[in-house]
Amino acid sequence: MSLKDKLLSSYIAFEDHLEDDSPIHDLRNNAIKVFEEAGFPTKKEEAWKYTSLNALLKQNYSVFPKSEATVELKQVKKYFLHDIDTYKLVFVDGVYSSFLSETTHDSIDVCLLSSALNKPKYKAVIEAYFNKTAVKDSLTSLNTAFAKEGAYIHIPKHKEVEKPIEIINFSTGNEAAVLLQPRNLIVVGENAHVQIIERHQSLSSNAVLTNAVTEIFAEKRAFVDCYKIQNDSENASLVDSTYVSQQQESICRVHTFSFGGKITRNNLNFYQNGERCDSVLNGITILEGKQHVDHNTLVHHMAPNCESHQDYKGIFSDSSVGVFNGKIYVEKDAQKLDAFQQNNNILVDDKATINSKPQLEIFADDVRCSHGCTIGQLDEDAMFYLQSRGIGKKEARALLMYAFANNVLESVKIPELKARINKLIANKIGVSLGFEL
């Protein structure tokens, strides 16, 4: 049985177990129909031209992990930002782990989507926001159909959340192959501030395919700062679809750090619904071996006097493959816009590949849109400079790679996280430079 057929038949059983009065009952039924018609995306679709899921779909995934797996804290502690206090929403094989989590209902809600979907007190928020911004493409629809668990974060207006919120999805590898479909809903009220760190982490070398969907709603003057850490094991693949809906004067920033995993596809979609919004999409991608990372971004400008900034840096070794497909869509009313997109890449080895494709569709006449894309090698003059100071080739290369990615790193606003990412980069590049990068 193909994975698609398996999912369709699983859905019937899944739906049987749910209560019929769930506010999203109809959404689920509609979503599975979309998936049934569209199926999994293929390379024939323009948006998937450079990324094939075929090899992944051949696995015999367990769609509903059987038993509740247990994970020791000491086994996973290193994946948390443990040097500072954070809220934590931790899921193990798709199931909430109360033992590893730290939730709250104290003036803000940092809790589970499963309870938000079932409890009457959340009904209004669910009805107002759930699935309101997610595009009805096949994979997002598949996630919607099975949407059951994930993070539910609701920050009321004027509330500045003092601790970052970590959302971590572990997979144990207790089963040979597992499909996970976490669903997150994040609603940030007027003038509220929040920082979110998101991570998917496999604890074994067994196959994992995660089809994650996150919806973020930023109300007027809200500030949302989101960091995605992708440093997963070699058989873990991820399709991460994030939809950000912004109201007037809100600022939303998403940083994506892609260092690991087998195939990673990031669909990052921003919708600017009000005036003077600011959207920031930054990424550092460092790949080796046969790793594949595809960044597919969209910034949809609908209102005047807005800004967007995209800065993606990539370093590709061995026969790794990178894709950057960045779209800026400017509607007629989005005048006085300042949109900026930059994608710079270094190919370390001859077999490494980058496909970079900026797409600008502009229907307003008074805007400033700029984009730039570079693909190159490490600068030989710079290498010579470092070597002439006694720094060996390998270390010199590492320093230059670090310098290349530095401006993106500089915009990480949580110092402990920045230090952590620095370490990940140093490990990834494989050098010890005698000082903490």
């Binding site: 600068d379 030989e380 003059d381 710079a382 010579f384 400079y385 470092l386 070597q387 002439s388 100071r389 006694g390 720094i391 060996g392 080739k393 270390e395 010199a396 320093l399 230059l400 670090y402 310098a403 530095n406 401006n407 790193l409 500089e410 430079l433 005698g434 000082f435 990068l437």
Partner: protein, 249 residues
């Protein structure tokens, strides 16, 4: 110390150095002057080991050892230093961290432990004072947004930290106002001893008023066509290079 004999080098098919002879002994200061495009910077790069240049003929030895096949970092470990005309910016790596890396990489190559942190700090402080470099400067990203003068001063700071046996200063005077020039030259003079040597590459006599050479060489079209004392530099400043060309005909 440095011995260059009939050195031919270039990029791919194009020969730039066409038979250089040069001997530098410990304690000496040599100046190499010459018009644009004569091969001055190429000579510096070839001595320091830039891969782009291929040596087609001749000898290049340092302290009695053939160094022509060594990587740039191996030459640096032996005590060669090149001050760059255009130093490269390394965002995110501070001046201090960079010099720590350079020193400890060199120590590692010699089988030594890292320099103890206290000793390193003391040395940095002392050399920075000598070159009138303030503390804030040391925590800036290397060469990023530096003025021309700051870049050159930073190059000499690195030289002071690395204490090379032979330093080659490539156009260290360009982009410096007279006060900065004096500070830089003063630093170089303080670092000079009977055991080390300096090669100064410059267009102008100006720097040589402060770093006084024992020998002046004129490089034209890839060859050293004339050598003399410091008086030669003054003559070049007054008369230009044309008279040498005429002399050669």
């Amino acid at each position: 110390m440095l011995h260059i004999n009939d050195l031919h080098a270039g990029v791919e098919e194009k020969e730039i150095l066409k038979g250089i002879n040069l001997d530098v002994q410990p304690g000496e200061v040599h100046a190499i002057m010459g018009p644009n495009g004569s091969g001055k910077s190429t000579l510096a790069s070839v001595i320091a080991g830039k891969e782009e240049f291929e040596i087609s003929k001749g000898n290049l030895s340092f302290e009695g050892e053939d160094i022509s096949e060594l990587d740039p970092e191996e030459r640096a470990h032996k005590g060669l230093f090149l001050s760059f005309q255009y130093p490269v910016a390394i965002p995110g790596v501070t001046v201090t961290n960079f010099i720590k890396t350079a020193i400890n990489e060199t120590r590692k190559a010699k089988g030594l432990e890292d320099m103890p942190a206290g000793e390193m700090l003391k040395k940095i402080k002392q050399k920075a004072e000598m070159l009138e470099i303030d503390r804030k400067f040391l925590s800036r990203s290397l060469n990023e947004g530096f003025s021309g003068g700051e870049k050159k001063r930073n190059e000499i700071f690195q030289m002071a930290m690395l204490e090379p046996k032979l330093a080659i200063l490539d156009e260290t005077d360009s982009g410096l106002d007279i006060d900065a020039l004096k500070v830089v030259a003063n630093g170089v003079n303080k670092l000079k001893s009977k055991d080390n040597a300096v090669i100064v590459i410059t267009h102008y006599q100006r720097l040589l008023d402060y770093i006084v050479p024992d020998y002046v060489h004129v490089l034209m079209d890839g060859r050293i066509v004339k050598s003399g004392s410091k008086e030669l530099a003054k003559e070049l400043e007054a008369k230009g290079y044309d008279w040498i060309k005429e002399e050669l005909v």
